[in-house]
Symmetry: C2
Subunit: 246 residues, 2 copies
């Protein structure tokens, strides 16, 4: 917070021109902290993860976390932005590509859902970068009550949500704007819950213990479910069919 520079210079990073064959996993302190923090925040949550746990796992000094990121909250935000920002950029770029390819005709729900999920899937496949850990961390962050987390995510997602709400509105012209907002909300809910929870992983292990590419299997189950929900007929406002006891 009172740090002189959140982005310090690169004078002493990797001993400069060291032999590349020396140690392949040797990266700068900043990235080591981010990697360790990503895994530990996912495993224990924000409050329950101490900076000492993170810096020990990263094999760096305790003060390095505050030096490079300012505070624990800023470190958490840095962990999220590192992957979340590119992913949402990919989502919007893919949606734009679909729309220009289709000419003037409205996109199908399937296409729009693909534009949301393919970038997430691509991130999850980045095993060398621990992308799968990040998706679970993201799902947890979405349910975290801390105000600074909710504000941060709200800002990060605002542009993408607005973009996809407009696309769904064109794909489902018979739905009023409010209904489209609700259904997009439910889509995001089922997605983040599935990515965050451990239950989904348990189910995959139960039914397909040999399966490696978990996330594609997961989204292949989720996508038809969501597309059908999006296309559901609207419920009459005064209807009580759902809530009569018998």
């Amino acid at each position: 917070m009172a740090l002189s520079s959140v982005v310090p210079s690169v004078s002493r990073l990797p001993k400069l021109a060291e032999q590349a064959t020396e140690r392949p996993n040797e990266v700068d302190t900043k990235s080591r902290i981010l990697d360790a923090a990503e895994e530990l925040f996912m495993e224990h949550g924000f409050e329950a993860t101490s900076l000492r746990l993170i810096t020990t796992a990263a094999s760096v000094n305790l003060a390095a976390a505050n030096y490079h990121f300012g505070s624990k909250e800023e470190l958490f935000q840095a962990v999220l932005t590192r992957r979340l920002d590119p992913m949402n950029q990919d989502r919007m770029a893919l949606l734009t590509a679909y729309e220009t390819a289709s000419g003037g005709t409205a996109l199908t729900c399937e296409k729009i859902i693909s534009a949301m999920f393919i970038p997430a899937l691509k991130l999850a496949r980045n095993h060398d970068q621990g992308g799968k850990n990040f998706l679970r961390l993201l799902g947890r962050a979405y349910a975290d009550p801390a105000p600074f987390i909710r504000e941060f995510l709200s800002n990060q997602y605002a542009a993408m949500i607005a973009r996809f709400r407009a696309a769904f509105g064109r794909a489902l012209p018979h739905l009023e704007r409010e209904e489209v907002s609700w259904r997009l909300h439910f889509v995001m809910g089922a997605l983040s819950y599935t990515l965050a929870g451990t239950d989904a992983l348990k189910m995959i292990a139960q039914f397909h213990p040999e399966e490696i590419n978990n996330d594609e299997l997961l989204l292949k189950r989720l996508a038809p479910f969501l597309a059908a929900g999006l296309r559901a007929p609207v419920q009459a406002t005064d209807s009580h069919q759902w809530f009569q006891e018998t």
Copy 2:
């Protein structure tokens, strides 16, 4: 933990036969702690809520929390059990009532979803008991990474989940067991995410600022979405229609 009795006797609870007109909100220490903990756990999460915050809000001594509940974790579990156990009992009882009423014919998805949601709705309507706070707390707990929370919820939900999975299996005979498990998982996800998040409340305030009975409006949007998703056609296992780039 090392307490002599987690369930102490009732020797000094409400000053015994005090005048009922004295103070209507005068309840025993144990309930005061539970009420304050329910609200504060929902607002700040488990780790970020200190026992001093809880006991101060409840106007009781700090040591009373450990005396009556043993530990902070046991207090959290007590907060959950107090409402979760009766709600899940209600859900299963309602499902049984529907099944006996229908004779031998299988229930519709709408009926089964009703059996899941009506008890939750009934709990949310208990304004004198702060039931709405509890539903949001429950949704947050479902995304909490703490192992003792996940184990506890898994045990609490196991019987109900198994009961409803069987009902959905009979309602959707064309789906294989694995697919039914997945879709039930997605239903639980959209529900808990919607109940836990603040976004849903913001949307209600945005579109219906005058509306009071928020939860019924919310579930009236959610139920058709989920029912359509449950009835969605199955996706071919080798199909790639969802994930091709163009």
